[in-house]
Amino acid sequence: MSTLPDTSTDRPTARPGRRRAPLRAVLALAVALVPALLVLGTPGSAQAAGTQTPPGSAWVRTGHFVPGMGKADVVLAPDSPRRTVDPIEDLGYSDVSTYQKLLPGRYTASVSAVDADPDAEPLLSSSFDVTAGEARTVAVVGTADAPRLTLLDDDLTPPQADTARVRLLSATDSTDAVTVRALMGPTVADGAVLGQATPYKTVPAGPWTLALMGADVPESKQAVDIASGSVYTVVVVDAPGGGTELKVVTDAAGAVVTPKGGADTGLGGAAPAAPQASDASTALVAGGLAGLAGVLLLGGAGVLVARRRTAGSPS
């Protein structure tokens, strides 16, 4: 989205030809640049075996999970001087920022108290690498006496149908270990300790009542709504009025019902060399693609189109 601090233009590009060319230009191209037609022309010819990783940036957010520690400013400084990343300011206990889009590369996270001298060394600092398509949480964890920075991997694996993935992160020092269990449902985490995220667990989607238990805190219950196809972190935090409570953070949202396959969004009326093709230039490009030998040996658009109709070698 436009409000996010991704200003880069150096993402990789690979694409078929842009716009339909006039007939004359297409004919000239077919003669002069026959080999190039192998990778231009119709969509699908160039990169039918597309990568399984969506193109784009990495996703990084920051969370403050240290009970008793004041508000902090967090700076994610890229190694590349051409890039800038908006700082996260006034991050308070139990706050989790929205995800920022970051270009793949190396970054250094620095944490300072909001009232710190700007020239002072940061309280905490740590470097990390991110790659396209992955999600990370820069987590300030531990105790106020001994805070530390850790980098959490946020799982983007699609959950199975009608399920979600949930992990627990304890940010309470009211009790040594916490267990969170869904009433009439699965256990989310058993004996989770301060500052450590549990592995993700697959749970059935739906409204759940989560019971929070710890040796030194009264049991509490909390209603949560877990959507299928999404990924969550449940954070156990000290409640403002004492005791503990759960804060559900959505790591990633997906389709509630994942469609099967792609989309049937065409009827062939403008397809290359389709019988009722209305676009002669498109048909000629397709002819050039399917009958490259024919381009040189036979020539003639009519022959090319005829060859294309019978070639039929789907990608």
Binding site: G50, D162, G254, G261, L267, G269, A274
Partner: protein, 210 residues
């Protein structure tokens, strides 16, 4: 009106009935809603009305407040400015497709554009007679702008991250529909070879934007 007949045969030659829920179940067309001054700026409280659910399975589509649903999609670099209807999931699990070659459709089991996660908008590459709304989708480049206007008149801006072309028989559902940390947009149409004997187009063009 010839365009309204049988717009279902991109990949599998299926004769399933196409559905564009916006045109059949919504009294106000998306374009009318977008220009409706009473809704502009989100002054109307969210009704929480449920959107159509999928054709199968136990899960239902998330409730998206009416004003936050997409109404139009604009892609200036390829001259697209089209209404966005609503699409569900067919009985066979595939997405419905717009019943009008000039319209696009938001798949209601995906997040609405601007919400966290991958919003999916589908449109035809062509009809039986010529190019359709997403004919030039395959020419989009990284950096191209896409704007989605919501029913309350607000807009969500996206920038193209990349374009991928996938064989329909090896479609990477996880990459296209899987969970995403931020608000992103996927545009999908047909592409590749058109082989009438094999159900039509063999590929899908997917544009990734965020």
């Amino acid at each position: 009106m010839a365009l309204l007949v049988g717009l279902t045969a991109c990949g599998d030659g299926s004769d399933a009935v196409a559905g564009d829920r916006a045109s059949s179940s919504d009294s106000a067309s998306p374009s009318a809603a977008a220009s409706d001054g009473a809704r502009r700026g989100g002054s109307t409280p969210a009704t929480g009305r449920s959107v159509p659910g999928p054709g199968g399975g136990g899960a239902t589509a998330p409730v998206v407040p009416r004003g936050e649903r997409p109404a139009r999609v604009s892609i200036p670099s390829i001259g697209v400015d089209a209404p966005v209807g609503r699409l569900g999931i067919r009985g066979d699990g595939a997405i419905e497709v717009p019943d009008d070659a000039r319209r696009t459709g938001w798949v209601t089991t995906t997040p609405a554009p601007g919400q966290q996660g991958p919003a999916l908008i589908a449109g035809h590459v062509d009809s039986t007679t010529g190019p359709a709304v997403f004919y030039d989708l395959r020419t989009l480049e990284p950096g191209d702008a896409i704007t989605v206007t919501r029913e309350d008149g607000s807009t969500v801006d996206f920038t193209v991250d990349g374009l991928q072309i996938y064989p329909q028989d090896d479609f990477p559902s996880a990459a296209v529909y899987g969970p995403v940390p931020g608000p992103v947009l996927r545009l999908i149409t047909c592409g590749g070879e058109y082989d009438a004997s094999r159900g039509g187009y063999q590929d899908n063009v997917v544009v990734y934007a965020s």
